[in-house]
């Protein structure tokens, strides 16, 4: 085992491999900065270039770039309220308000450092889990996935803001939107009104862009001010450094959010979006100042950003142990591995343990390189927030349209973005919280699917399984966490 570990490390530190890793990391960051381009697009475009490379080099090129896409995706969320990828959506809730207060540097410092640290923790978790990879994946059947999603959906109450009723209404709208499309169980089209486009459901990118980015553009146009609202900007370098320190000040949250990301990433069928929203809600729930969330709380950035990079380490768990991808990106990576002669699956750990460790080191190093690169670029990028809105607003609008189109290369997604934008604007005007809608949208269909599968495969008493009971217990704790913690405060 130690021999394989050293072999993996020396392979990654080979000068040629390392150089390729740096190059791929930078390309991955560029993909993250462009809304609509995802880690999957990175992989699909880079795979042809790996034809003919040796397995280690090909794996490094693919994994390094893919691992850091979300690191850069947080930057656009903070600066212009347009998330680079869907997994950066929660970052804008607190990142953008911080930028508006003149602290774009600090917000980027927090996001990038949390991403880097989260990615490293994800890699470490993967190493620690190698002896138990199979046991972890085997533990999560449909009933456990159902209760995991239920746990997630209860966080609607946490992210609801001041009015629980408005939060619930928002969450229900999200659930209804998630139900649009072809229903696999009954083989019928639901709420599609005969439209083939709606048959496949509304995508997460039009929802996020419409809810958050479009209302922001309208506000920028109407006020005529810059994003930082013409407030004096803090000294950028020291502000970035402050952001870096914030992550280590909240080390416990960084660690917990990374664990959430890695654990949910390891469960095939739940998805990255679930991990980041649960991490965001967890950050708010355990914060000493939850009232600051939505107004520039650094914990609101640390939670999702730590989770969205650590989940890649988690997603490698089922990919390597069963050949079953833990995320859509890993599904693409599986195909690429085959080309270069690697076949992840039940026998992979036995035959290629050195490559497995090399993957861990690639994850760790790429995250460190990516974070450092973003930190050095942040001082220039942060200046976007002082550009007058007459120049910036049209540019953001173009980015929104490009992002919506690139998501599925479907112009109807642009229309969907604008329709959702009207809903988003209405929610801003009538003070309805938007995060519960996203949480309802992400988890609504999953709850329905896994409830159906649980009942059909395990019967009506599907909840009587050890891990299910633990998840039910955690859900109850989560629901009453506020009351319990308030009770403790009074008691003290």
């Amino acid at each position: 085992m130690i021999e394989a570990l050293l072999e993996g490390l020396s392979g990654v530190l080979n000068p040629v491999v390392f150089l390729y890793m740096v190059g791929s990391t930078i390309i991955g960051l560029i993909f993250g900065l462009i809304p609509g381009l995802s880690g999957m697009t990175y992989l699909a475009l880079l795979i042809p270039f790996t034809f003919g490379m040796n397995p280690l080099l090909a794996m490094t090129v693919l994994l390094a770039g893919h691992a850091v896409v979300h690191t850069a995706g947080g930057i656009t969320a903070i600066l212009i309220n347009v998330p680079g990828t869907a997994a950066n959506a929660p970052t804008l809730i607190d990142g953008f308000p911080l930028a508006r207060q003149g602290h774009a540097g600090r917000a980027i410092g927090v996001a990038v450092t949390a991403s880097g640290v989260g990615g490293v923790i994800g890699g470490i978790i993967l190493v620690l889990c190698i002896p138990f990879l199979r046991a972890i994946v085997m533990a999560f059947g449909s009933p456990e996935l159902f209760f995991l999603c239920v746990l997630g959906i209860t966080f609607i109450a946490t992210v609801a803001g001041k009015s629980l009723l408005k939060g619930l209404i928002s969450g229900i709208i999200g659930i209804i939107l998630s139900l649009i499309g072809f229903d696999a169980v009954t083989a019928t089209a639901r709420l599609t009104f005969g439209s083939l486009y709606l048959n496949s459901g509304i995508g997460i990118i039009p929802i996020v862009l419409g809810l958050f980015a479009l209302p922001q553009v309208i506000e920028l146009m109407s006020t005529g001010k810059s994003i930082a609202e013409d407030k004096p900007m803090a000294t950028i370098a020291s502000d970035i450094w402050e952001g870096v320190k914030d992550v280590f000040r909240h080390w416990s949250l960084t660690l917990r959010a990374s664990l959430i990301g890695a654990l949910i990433g390891a469960v095939p069928g739940v998805g990255a979006e679930t991990a980041i929203w649960i991490a965001y809600a967890h950050a708010k729930q355990t914060s000493k100042t939850p009232e600051l969330f939505g107004h520039g709380a650094v914990e609101g950035i640390i939670g999702p950003e730590s989770a969205n990079n650590s989940k890649e380490g988690g997603a490698l768990i089922p990919t390597l142990s069963f050949g079953i991808p833990g995320s859509s990106g890993m599904a693409v990576m599986l195909g690429a591995f085959l080309v270069v002669g690697l076949d992840p699956g039940p026998l992979f750990l036995r035959d290629h343990l050195d490559i497995c460790y090399a993957m861990v080191f690639t994850l760790v190093l790429a995250n460190i390189i990516g974070a450092l690169f973003c930190l050095f670029s942040a001082r220039y990028l942060a200046k976007i927030t002082i550009i007058p809105s007459r120049y910036l607003a049209p540019l953001i609008l173009v980015l929104i349209v490009i992002g919506a189109y690139l998501y599925r290369e479907n112009w109807l997604d642009i229309i969907a973005t604008f329709v959702i934008g009207i809903i988003g604007l209405g929610m801003v005007i009538f003070a309805y919280p938007r995060p519960p809608l996203i949480l309802g949208f992400v988890l609504g269909k999953l709850v329905e699917r896994y409830f159906h599968l649980s009942v059909k495969t395990s019967g009506n008493l599907f909840f009587l399984r050890p891990l299910s009971l633990i998840l039910i217990f955690l859900t109850i704790i989560g629901l009453f966490y506020d009351k319990i913690s308030k009770g403790n405060k009074y008691a003290n």
Binding site: A44, P48, F182, A187, T192, N199, G323, I324, R408, R449
Partner: protein, 344 residues
């Protein structure tokens, strides 16, 4: 402008148009494709098996057509949108082709699939070539069932499928019908084949289906065991696996098994829009026939552990004519088998 001048101008324009059209008509398909951009649409996300096939074809076609060939993913509705798009495309002139998903096109038409009924006639499409086809292999966990006899004896045999009337759902329902498995039920709603395989390994499901390539490594590790293959002949890769015919097919259900096997012949197939000019259809068919013999193409295909089972466009066209000749009553019967009879 004088009247005479106007007439002269119209005449000149008419002559120029005629010359241009004549030139275009005289242009050989080979010259037509040179330097143009060809789009291959694929009804799945980047990275999956279909996408990989499309990219392999794009790479080879670029060389053979001396054109730029790009792949466009239209994954919506499990490939239905992409198929609908190629069916309704007009005026592409052979610059747009589609890689169709297995049995999806005839299945949609035969079952009046939601949102697509009365929109379709697969016989109008220009079928170019089949690249590959994989017979469905059924597998179980050795902790549950080791062979067909154990499946038959069981109180219940739960099989996972993506959706009712999906490719996996159709293969499963027709196999149950053919084998007379009255104790068998389908559970729909799994996101894909990988999740179904995991559910079988975990013991949540009794079995599932997939291509031999996708299941092979699980057979090698002992996580799964093969039960049967839906094919007339045994697999070359593993002749130990019995075919459905070896296990005894119910006489009254034989017609649906034969129908499915006929449809399965179509496999991963390239298709052009209905109005594609005949000379370009012919040229594309010839080019693809050459491509499947090209050593570079075959080497790249082998890297993915795929194999080519070519079938010409003309033969595909005949198969589609045959499989779509089913009556309305037979359609109803098929929908009942696929959607109701075995659904849990």
């Amino acid at each position: 402008m004088g009247k005479g001048l106007k007439i002269n101008l119209i005449l000149i324009l008419a002559v120029l148009t005629l010359c241009f059209k004549a030139g275009a008509a005289a242009e050989s398909p080979e010259a037509f494709y040179k330097g143009k951009t060809v789009i291959i649409t694929v009804g799945s996300s980047p990275g999956g098996g279909y996408d990989t096939w499309a990219r392999l074809v794009a790479k080879s076609l670029e060389k053979m057509l001396r054109a730029t060939v790009i792949v466009k993913n239209i994954p919506e509705a499990g490939g239905v949108v992409a198929l609908d798009d190629i069916y309704h495309t007009r005026g592409a002139g052979g610059l747009k082709i589609h890689l169709a998903r297995d049995i999806l096109p005839p299945l949609l038409q035969a079952t009046n699939f939601p949102g697509t009924s009365a929109r379709w006639d697969v016989n109008k499409l220009m079928w170019l070539a089949r690249l590959s086809t994989d017979p469905a292999v059924f597998a179980s966990s050795p902790k549950k069932f080791r062979n067909f006899a154990e499946v038959k004896k069981a109180k219940e045999f739960l099989c996972g499928v993506d959706a009712a009337m999906s490719v996996s759902g159709t293969r499963t329902a027709i196999a149950f019908e053919a084998l007379g498995l009255t104790n068998a039920k389908m559970v729909a709603g799994y996101p894909g084949g990988t999740e179904r395989r995991l559910a079988v390994i975990q013991g949540e499901l009794g079995g599932t289906s997939g291509s031999y390539d996708s299941l092979e490594k699980y057979f090698a590790s002992g996580d799964l065991v093969p039960l049967w293959v839906v094919s007339k002949e045994r697999l070359k890769e593993n002749p130990q696996i019995p075919t459905v015919y070896d296990l005894g097919v119910k006489q009254e259900a034989r017609k649906w098994l034969d129908w499915e096997l006929e449809v399965e012949q179509t496999g991963r197939t390239l298709v052009a829009p209905p109005d594609t000019p005949q000379d370009r259809v012919k040229f594309l068919r010839e080019t693809l026939a050459k491509m499947v013999r090209d050593q570079d193409f075959l080497r790249n295909v082998a890297k993915y552990k795929y194999s080519v089972q070519y079938l010409s466009g003309e033969k595909l066209q005949d198969i589609f004519k045959k499989v779509m000749a089913i009556t309305e009553k037979e359609k109803e019967e098929l929908i009942y088998i696929l959607k109701v009879k075995y659904m849990k």
